[in-house]
Amino acid sequence: MPDGSPNGNGHSGCRVGVYVCHCGTNIAATVDVAALSGYALTLPGVVVARDYKYMCSDPGQDLIVQDIREYGLDRVVVAACSPLLHEPTFRRALARAGLNPFFLQVVNVREHVSWVHLDKGEASAKAKDLVRAAVRRVLLHKPLEKRKVPINPNVLVVGGGIAGIHAALTLADAGKHVYLVEREPSIGGHMAMFDKTFPTLDCAACILTPKMTQVGCHPNISLWAYSEVVQVDGYVGNYKVKVKHKPRYVIDDLCIGCQECVTACVFKAGKTPDEFNLGLSKRKPVYLPFPQAVPQKVVIDPEACIEFKSGKCKKTCIEACGERGAIDLKQKETFAEVEVGAIILATGFATFDPVRKPYLGYGKYPNIYTSLEVERLINASGPTAGELVLRDGTPPKAVGIVHCVGSRDANTNRWCSKVCCMYSLKLAHLVKERTGAEVYNFYIDMRTPGKGYEEFYDRLLDEGVHFIRGRVADISDWAAHPSEEGKLVIRAEDTLAGFVRRIPVDMVILSVGLEPQPDAQQVRRLFNISCASEGWFLERHPKLAPVSTFTEGVFIAGACQGPRDIPEAVAQAGAASAEALALIDAGVVELEPYTATVDETACSKCGVCVSLCPYSAIAPGGGVINEVLCKGCGTCVAACPSGAIRQNFFEDCEIEEEIEGLLAYA
């Protein structure tokens, strides 16, 4: 019926063009595209139907534009990949031809048909149903306008690790105001705990500290350490964020980090395990997280402070602070609300807790350490001032490094943590360098892709570090031979030599893998994004949008998205900043017009909708919806008992027409 005859919905005279994409062979191999466009031409209202190799290509789009002009089309259906990919592309094409972009309906015949079905007949039949439904639906489409709203140029960066720091600095240097929120008392993240970085072995502190101080004094950065985001409202370009400042019991602006209070504390020595040193040393109730901490301000730990427990402390700290009066033991938590246009999440990772693998003896034998603990041990500012010694203070003569602890393991985490091979090599090198001990690496595979990585591996081999290919069976102090007395015995199958080895060592380093932060789920809900099944934040597209999320204006960077090493994290932070800048500098953001509106003449003010709207977009009593607040979920539309509310692009009649179209027989 190429004359565009009525389809029974009073939409006679509509002229529809249908375009079937081959997507190379992605669609064409499973769906009979020629037959499909042929069938489309028989549908009421359709005046032209074509199939083409790549509809999304320029010539493909031009095809549509020409037809619109030539055939005077006023509706377009494109059967191609998921609308989430190319709906915008084709809408632009319609706009170019002077047609309202919402006169388009995209049919998903790739992800939902050709890629998931084998039988060509069945796939083609399904595709026909979908196209028929789309044609019937598109006839009812109304012209719509995207809503343009201004963008707030400020950016929120969550997480003060290397990724967050780099993102914050990049944006601040570009002249945007950045709120950097870090829940620990100081920024720096994991990198600040490292001694050296692979493969160049340059000192982590040396390269990180300058950036940290830069953040601390950058005019465009509000650094909110010891703070947490508690609430996020609004939408792309206009997020409202509520941040909680935890009490330091020290007034930020007055404290200069002189630490006289620390010296003056009634505790002569530290009694509380030092978080930064992973409990390998003790700290006082009042303390500076670590020497290079930014902000350079002390914190008071109410759990440890006598004054908080008994109220009977001499408060020598306050004396010491003197007239500066930076200490305020009455401090309460405070909240700040800020408006930002974009958000970058750089919340980082957690390390695997080897207690979950008892056979490795961690927590049972004192001289078994995690890699991160060893980073602190060999760090000059660490508990031992950089001396790698056993608990008894003597240096180890033999050290075992167990790779892939908690990684590549069906019982714990399936994924490869990506950085362990390299930092194990780094630690092996440092241990040998500092102690001259024999170092044995137990690995599954050595994975050293990356600039200068493989070379570093070769170097270690030359240095005489031992590499044993095989999973460790267990670690114990059970001596099977006098030479093993007082040693930790690592049992592992040497899969190259083909027999089980027993290696007696003095110290074992467990190369623990990387995991999502334990509270990753709460965080993603807070920011309304998704997690992949492992719990890493989900990117919008693994290849084409690696730092974007499905929530417009929320970006991710660093190890919160998956195991990363420093250069990658920094690169991602740069990418995320660039995306944020691109968004902000556009000045306005376009929102889908899928909002709901009330037909006031039909509304009985029953009030059902009011109680349902999650955004309080409906005025009390009902009757009016605030289009700016409405996010277009359509819940009120479905609930309105007198059918007085409609949703743009998802009107009852459009959906019912789609249903009829799907089920009508050809």
């Binding site: 099944s533 979920c633 819940t635 799907l662």
Partner: protein
């Protein structure tokens, strides 16, 4: 007010193939279906998906409409509880689903023909299983012809029948 209901043609030797209409939310289940595609998972071709922004948009009228127009089953897919892109739309969907299912049962429509699934953007496999499982169950039930709804019988047919 009349709506035409078309039930499948009888093709000799061709087994009954259920027709299932699915309403998927734009942020979770529709994405899962896309992911199933990109992951090249294979599942039964009986389901026809209608995309909505949120499972909270599913109007019970759509479900009845689908059954009325000849669907043998209806599947609603939304984000997991707590994960709704619009905060609580999926709970609204759940509440409507539970009451509607109760009413459909009262009207004689089997429970397995109407289903609500929470499938996140990452759970392509779950989508596959849900679809296949539902298709199997509905296939076992056979076509929904609303037989339980007393059908109008022409006078002639009844004339001789004992009242």
């Amino acid at each position: 007010m009349l709506n035409r209901r078309t039930i499948p043609p009888v093709v000799p030797g061709k087994a009954f193939e259920p027709r299932i209409v699915a309403f998927f939310c734009n942020w979770c289940t529709y994405l899962a279906a896309d992911l199933a595609g990109t992951s090249r998972l294979k599942y039964a071709p009986n389901v026809r998906v209608i995309r909505l922004m949120c499972s909270g948009r599913v109007d019970p009228q759509f479900v009845l409409k689908a059954f009325a127009e000849g669907a043998d089953g209806v599947l609603i897919g939304g984000c997991h509880p707590g994960d709704c892109h619009y905060q609580e739309g999926n709970y609204k969907a759940l509440r409507r689903f539970l009451l509607l299912r109760r009413m459909l049962t009262q009207m004689g429509i089997e429970e397995d023909r109407f289903r609500l699934e929470w499938i996140s953007a990452a759970e392509a496999d779950r989508l596959k299983t849900a679809v296949n499982d539902m298709v199997e169950k509905v296939r076992a039930l056979g076509p929904l012809s609303l037989e339980h709804v007393p059908k109008f019988v022409e006078a002639e047919e009844l004339e001789e029948a004992p009242v």
